[in-house]
């Protein structure tokens, strides 16, 4: 034990945490002093605090667990930043992508059994069963779901993401996005037009099934032709980057991105051999829905984050997803595990006639956008979004600034004009979430808790601390082994 004299050689500059009376001497001496607003970390338990401390990196100790995590995270960040998601194709049916799918329904969020599903998700399951002709009536469909005749699995475990209930059934067409850097693909279903009466909000009325059929028979083939006509596919990162500069967060506001997509497919459709009527129908569908781009935004983020998943020791979140009951996160270095906590009700505005009492807890895979550093993390780019939470443009900036405290880097590909064009914060580190006791913010639509009632509002919600605390515990256990 040889004490380096350096302990006394630097100018004393103090960080003080705890009782402020004790740093009066420092203050009076004129030495630099930063006083922390200390609070117990995470869920407030001393055990978590001690686990977390084991995960801190150390520039002079490359072998300690925290330094290994830091290195793994640098790799993960590199993979996120260099991802090149490109819209390359439309899969005519999900069963083309996963030939062994059988009677599987993919759903949003972490794993959940039929009995535990929230109202909208049950409704969407019924709708998907009817759409697939596995049953002839809603009642029969419910019985089938309850009988165990359907296999349920998270979209995320199939390289896919679905908005709201996120149900993907074998016949549904999917956007196909390829990450050109790493070669992996991600999939997302197409946004249905029709407002409240959509499967993603749990509706299963005949017109909803009709709408799905229309997507399958008209929209999908047309978009497949459109993307085929774009040489090398449509690079999504530049498009999303540009949308941020046009006021989108590419999660809850996709107005600009949808227009840019519209522009890209219009030319391609017009030079294709598709009939004028179908081109019109396709463009009408895209043009009618400001959120149409969301599927591509989500698939682009999923293609990015899947490439970053599976780096041993990494503490970076690669998915945040909600099934309407629970929020689950996946962590790059902890493959094969979901860390789950109860979903909150979003805070925000409600459409006339609805209130918080009608709201379903947070639901959907669309928080993949926040996971990839967009959505609420890029809120500074989309000041219009904060109106949902009664905020000012300053609050929008605050969201983006605060989320920088729980992330390990910034994405120079997604810059925020209002913050001097700095990159949006990216790479949620479970360690930082717990250390700062700051839960990641998610922009979201609010679903009615009854099936098929549709969107009743929009606002923000935060992922539960428990997910991150549990992940920290598992990471610390690696060190203890």
């Amino acid at each position: 034990m040889n004490a380096a004299p350096s302990a006394l050689q630097n100018k004393t500059s103090v960080i003080s945490l705890g009782a402020s009376d004790l740093d009066r001497g420092v203050e009076s001496s004129g030495a630099p002093l930063v006083r922390l607003q200390w609070q117990p970390v995470g869920d407030g338990s001393p055990e978590v605090a001690w686990s977390l401390a084991q995960l801190v990196g150390d520039t002079t100790d490359a072998d300690c667990l925290g330094s290994r995590i830091d290195r793994a995270n640098a790799e993960v960040l590199e993979r996120i930043l260099t991802a090149q998601p490109v819209w390359v194709d439309i899969a005519a049916h999900a069963s083309e992508v996963w030939p062994d799918m059988g009677r599987t329904l993919l759903h949003a969020g972490p794993p959940i059994a039929w009995n535990d599903m929230c109202g909208p998700m049950k409704g969407a399951v019924v709708g998907a069963i009817l759409y697939e002709n596995w049953a002839t009536s809603p009642r029969e469909a419910e019985q089938l779901a309850a009988s165990g005749g359907i296999r349920f699995a998270p979209c995320h475990e199939f390289g896919a993401v679905g908005p709201m209930t996120g149900i993907i059934s074998p016949s549904m067409p999917l956007f196909v996005v390829q990450n050109e850097t790493s070669g992996n693909r991600a999939y997302a279903p197409m946004m249905e037009s029709g407002g409240a009466k959509t499967l993603r909000f749990g509706a299963f009325a005949p017109e909803v099934i009709e709408g799905l059929k229309l997507i399958e028979t008209v929209l999908a083939p047309c978009l497949k032709a459109a993307v085929a006509g774009i040489d090398g596919g449509l690079p999504l990162k530049p498009l999303m980057s540009q949308s941020l500069h046009m006021g989108d967060d590419v999660h809850n506001r996709n107005t600009a991105a949808t227009l840019l997509l519209y522009r890209a497919v219009t030319e391609s459709l017009l030079k294709s051999s598709i009939s004028r009527d179908l081109v019109h129908e396709t463009l009408r569908t895209i043009g009618a829905d400001d959120m149409f781009f969301l599927s591509l935004s989500m698939a682009a983020c999923k293609a990015t984050m899947d490439a970053a998943h599976g780096v041993p020791f990494s503490s970076i979140v690669t998915a945040m997803a909600r099934n309407g009951v629970n929020v689950g996160i996946r962590v790059s270095g902890l493959d094969g595990q979901w860390f789950v906590g109860p979903a909150d009700i979003p805070v925000g505005l409600f459409l006339p006639g609805f209130s918080e009492a009608d709201a379903n807890p947070d639901i959907g895979d669309s928080a993949i956008t926040e996971t990839a550093g967009l959505g609420a993390f890029a809120m500074a780019a989309a000041p219009a979004m904060v109106q949902f939470v009664g905020g000012t443009p300053q609050d929008a900036l605050r969201y983006s600034r605060e989320m920088a405290h729980v992330t390990i880097g910034r994405n120079p590909g997604f810059t925020l004009p209002m913050l001097d064009f700095i990159g949006a914060p990216v790479g949620i580190d479970v360690r930082k979430v717990v250390d700062e006791s700051m839960r990641p913010v998610i922009n979201t639509a609010t679903a009615h808790k009854e099936p098929g009632m549709g969107i009743i509002g929009a606002g923000v919600v935060q992922a539960p601390m428990k997910c991150f605390v549990d992940a920290v515990g598992v990471l610390a256990a690696i060190g203890a082994r």
């Binding site: 034990m1 006394l8 500059s13 960080i15 001497g25 120079p412």
Partner: protein, 532 residues
């Protein structure tokens, strides 16, 4: 003109962003020409025409940024390219800007470090169960630590001490109340001049008293390193005390070292003495309450705080200060003349734990049995901490008095209650009070204590006795509480002021010895509770 080209792969930026980066790079580095373009075919043609195309850029894809810097001076190119890369990644908003100011105050050490001016020490006083975690985070980030918190689980204490030792960082504590590092007072600390004497101590108020006395003798302190009370146990092994010795050995400002501690565990004691003898500087060691030991070589053993300060001052080359034996003698004679024979026993009501130990040491050395809530020998533990028994020294800063209440250096309430209770006891010969000044302590203790002393004395007078209250003030003329005013207020209330903790304990002991001797001499021995 020298040209350098490179590619930033897989990153789209619009032309406005790229032009801005070019412009800023030119402004900051003075490089003559910066061209940034996405790697499209038409952009490559443009470079070709401009004579800026190079083989390195052939492979650029439309999603890559092509970077070309040009200057007559080739040495400028690398710096320019570096600037471009950092601008592409983006810069954090400047500290002190409106953006940063609008942020919530930092809660974590990592954010504290990010905004601090080269932080190098964390002062941690969060609740014990969380304290080691915060200390470990600070150590991992290269900070020295003063850990004020107590009740840290022993295995966590051992773990953080190991990491600190590995990294050569100083970990003062757990349960470290005071330190002065590079002239910066931390925790409970007095304002003393800087000088040539370095202190290491496991006992907070002991360090404070010694540094105050050194200051009053006209000398100063280089560093005062607190170790925390558990450091010298065999479980921890004196890691910080040994490290502190090494630091002071290497510190060019430090000419003399003094150690103040309760007696360390046997093996730790041996190692400390060994190391002290090997650092090449004179070391004064006071293991308060331990067996008296002989000095050897450059290691000088002392048995009281006062002696420790005097020895250190002498070794630092100052004239040996004049002894206050005479004034103590006068005080004892005057006080004893006012007492009645039943007044036999001493009551020390201390806010400083070290003072309580020192008093017990001195009183025991005179042959008295001394009860305490923090006894030197377990047999002398008070059965009921609320009830004194014979000669008693109480540490009012220990757990049984401070759970859910501020420390008695901050809140004198419990001490005043106890003072009034002791005054009511006709066998009490005198009461000793410490008054600790400095940062962290009560801003005006005499204002609270003086009326209480008056009240106690008046109450006793009403019963036909006198109650001597001996006070000493642990402080300096530079402390925020005005040393002289505090003393004057106490004296005005009738307190007997003595210059040091040691002097106060000796005075009290001399009073008790005198009362006992008088009693024996006149043959009026009264058996009181079987105490001697």
């Amino acid at each position: 003109m020298a040209i350098q080209s490179s590619i930033k792969a897989n990153l789209y930026k619009d032309s406005v962003s790229l032009m801005r980066i070019s412009q800023v790079t030119v402004a900051r580095t003075g490089v003559q020409r910066v061209t940034l373009l996405m790697g499209t075919r038409s952009n490559k043609e443009f470079l070709q025409q401009a004579g800026l195309m190079s083989p390195a850029l052939e492979s650029a894809k439309p999603g890559d940024i092509m970077i070309v810097v040009a200057d007559d001076a080739p040495e400028k190119l690398a710096a320019a390219e570096q600037e471009i890369h950092s601008l592409i990644v983006g810069e954090e908003p400047k500290g002190g800007s409106a953006e940063a100011a609008a942020d919530a105050p930092p809660r974590s050490i990592s954010r504290g470090v990010a905004i601090a001016d080269h932080a190098d020490l964390a002062m941690i006083s969060v609740p014990g169960p969380y304290a080691a975690a915060e200390a470990l985070k600070a150590l991992r980030r290269g900070l020295n630590v003063l850990l004020f918190s107590d009740n840290v689980p022993i295995e966590q204490e051992q773990a953080i001490k190991r990491v600190a030792a590995q990294k050569g960082l100083l970990l003062m504590g757990p349960d470290c109340g005071t330190a002065i590092i590079n002239g910066v007072p931390l925790g409970f600390a007095n304002v003393v001049r800087r000088g040539a004497i370095g202190l290491v101590g496991a006992s907070g108020t002991g360090l404070q008293e010694v540094m105050c006395q050194i200051h009053r003798h006209g000398l100063g302190i280089s560093q005062a390193i607190g170790t925390g009370s558990h450091d010298v146990s065999s479980e921890v092994g004196g890691i910080t005390m040994l490290q502190g010795l090494d630091l002071l050995a290497a510190d060019p400002q430090t000419k003399v070292v003094a150690i103040v501690s309760k007696p360390p565990a046997r093996d730790v004691q041996r190692r400390v003495i060994e190391r002290a003898g090997a650092i090449g500087k004179p070391v004064v060691i006071c293991f308060l309450g331990g067996e008296p030991a002989a000095s050897a070589g450059d290691v000088h053993r002392t048995s009281s705080l006062e002696e420790t300060a005097r020895q250190a001052v002498a070794l630092a080359g100052a004239r040996q200060p004049v002894s206050d034996e005479q004034s103590i003698g006068a005080l004892v004679t005057r006080v004893c003349a006012s007492l009645v024979p039943s007044q036999r026993y001493l009551r020390g009501l201390y806010s400083g734990g070290t003072f309580c130990s020192e008093a017990q040491t001195i009183w025991r050395a005179a042959g008295f049995r001394v009860r305490s809530n923090a006894p030197l020998a377990d047999a002398d533990r008070l059965a009921d901490v609320e009830a004194s028994q014979g000669h008693t020294a109480i540490d009012l800063g220990s757990d049984e008095f401070t759970v859910g209440r501020p420390h008695p250096m901050i809140d004198h309430g419990v001490r005043i209650e106890r003072l009034l209770k002791e005054a009511d006891d006709p066998t009490v010969a005198c009461i000793v009070l410490d008054v600790v000044l400095g940062y962290g302590s009560h801003p005006n203790p005499a204002e609270i204590l003086a009326p209480a002393i008056r009240r106690a004395k008046a109450a006793v007078r009403g019963q036909g006795r006198e109650l001597p209250v001996i006070c000493f003030v642990c402080g300096t003329d530079a402390d925020p509480q005005s040393f002289e005013t505090q003393k004057a207020m106490l004296a005005d209330a009738g307190a007997e002021l003595v210059g040091s903790s040691t002097g106060a304990a000796r005075s009290a002991q001399a009073i008790a010895s005198r009362m006992e001797a008088d009693d024996n001499a006149t043959g009026r021995r009264v058996m009181l509770g079987g105490e001697r």
